[in-house]
Symmetry: C2
Subunit: 305 residues, 2 copies
């Protein structure tokens, strides 16, 4: 039982060079008619307009790591970075978990072969229902759907989507930074529309039965092998490249040195790497993110009148 | 008849986020042994170290458009951009077409599906022989070789490679900016080594017979459709995406609007688009570059003793 969804925010340009969301947000800001549903009209937010203008991920710091309780609640100062100021502005408008339940849909691209990745917080069964709806309604073999769970306690949340009571981020790829691929753009448009359809159906009383979901849950982040000077010494192995969500066994090659030498995965259990060779993660010292595949039972969803 | 090649420069990081050349230049600066040949040892140049450090294309302006006669010969000023200063430094070291013939190999990546593109100036038959050698010796169906001719009069040259008496740029793709794909990296390494092999064979008296080359010659640049505000209104059509070097006929779709409408190619003759949807060219207002396919006869090449 959940109350109706009255406020929905569709966010593009949280990262200024992830172009599907940037384009769609600009388009819908000019003509929001496509985002109108019977039970609500979604807001549109271009989250980091200066980064969009310069076609960079961010100006001073990653906006999508700036929604921490600490940063949002600290007293404002002249010297705050652009993104911290922007996070506070956005949070003031949408954040403080209002009585009207809100839902955040944050639009991202990745250079990794992530297809349609629906990123949500563990325990958000409402978002899991939406993800399951997308998986069922938006079948496209070019961009298969995966559900990726972020399992961090609420006080550790830093992502923009965390300001919503419920939320998803859509991560579509592969697409280079600063490039619009029309196939990825069209896919993103379909996914947002179907998400709004789901929320509208829910608001109108449609009941969604329980189901068992296959999800990927983050285990840990893996850095590239680096020298004492911090320089990367080996890159993603060609056999791992583009193999997001496929199983990686102990002994499988993960990195390759310039001289051709392989570096093998020396973990003890099977993992499912994601965000393999994501451009924006080099500076975060992340070569890929290890996940495990899980099944979880999601109880039925029904409107609380 | 040509004099021996005594000075060869291999350049990486002319654009700081094109990672194959950046990695190889860094690697060879630490250990240049791989670039040693019987008749010469190639110099290595990391052309734009600050852009490399920040993993961006450039700091103030595109270094690979900064080697104009006008910029190189103007008197230095405090207010000169970083790249203009850097272009002058590089030109002073390698440029002034010394008595020792020099050859420049400049390493680039592109987000477009350009395979192995060997970019050279029209009329540089020496470079055409090298390109023909690479086409023959370095066959790799994943990265087919194409020769792309730049046909501009010498006084209009702005590219780094123009400081060499002879030169090629290697453009390998697709690869997102800021990403190292090991398959692309390995391919670049092979191509540079084979280029040096060719120059060494030439210096040692190997004769290279005449041949007929298939080349693509630049016709014009095509911008995206834009509104009065300069915003892009339609993106590369999914049927054109990744179709670099394939023929485009009048009436074929080239752009697609967000509402799904197609924009067709309304030119009168068959063209071969290249650099389709290159990330770095959005700001240059280039959606693709139109080329024509030509055949040219290249006379035999022989060492002048």
């Amino acid at each position: 039982m959940s109350p109706p969804v009255s406020q929905v925010v569709v966010v593009g340009g949280t990262h200024g060079n992830e172009m599907s969301g940037v384009c769609l947000a600009k388009h819908w800001l000019q003509d929001p008619s496509e985002l109108r549903r019977k039970s609500f009209t979604a807001d549109i937010l271009l989250a980091n307009p200066i980064a969009v203008e310069r076609c960079v991920r961010y100006i001073d710091r990653d906006l999508n790591r700036s929604f921490s309780h600490e940063l949002l609640s600290a007293s404002a100062s002249e010297s705050d970075s652009y993104e911290v100021k922007r996070a506070r502005e956005i949070y003031q408008k949408y954040g403080p978990k209002q009585s009207s339940l809100n839902f955040v849909i944050d639009l991202h691209n990745t250079t990794s072969n992530m297809g349609t990745t629906i990123l949500l917080f563990k325990g958000d069964n409402f978002a899991l229902h939406l993800a399951n709806y997308l998986k069922t309604k938006c079948v496209d073999p070019s961009f298969p759907c995966h559900i990726l769970l972020i399992d961090i306690p609420e006080q550790g949340h830093v992502h923009l989507q965390s300001m919503g009571k419920h939320s998803i981020s859509l991560e579509l790829g592969p697409q280079p930074q600063g490039v619009v691929r029309t196939d990825v753009l069209a896919r993103m448009k379909v996914l947002v529309n179907s998400s709004l359809d789901f929320l509208d159906l829910f608001n109108q009383g449609t009941e969604f039965p329980s189901f068992e979901a296959e999800v990927h849950q983050v285990l840990h982040k893996a850095d590239f092998p680096r020298g004492a000077d911090g320089e990367i010494q080996a890159f993603i192995h060609s056999e791992l490249q583009d193999k997001d969500y496929l199983p990686l066994k102990p002994g499988d090659p993960i990195f390759q040195r310039l001289n051709g030498d392989d570096i093998l995965y020396n973990g003890e259990k099977l993992i499912y790497p994601v965000f393999i060779n994501e451009s924006a993660y080099y500076e975060k010292k992340v070569a890929f993110i290890a996940t495990e595949k899980k099944h979880c039972f999601v109880p039925a969803l029904k409107l609380q009148n």
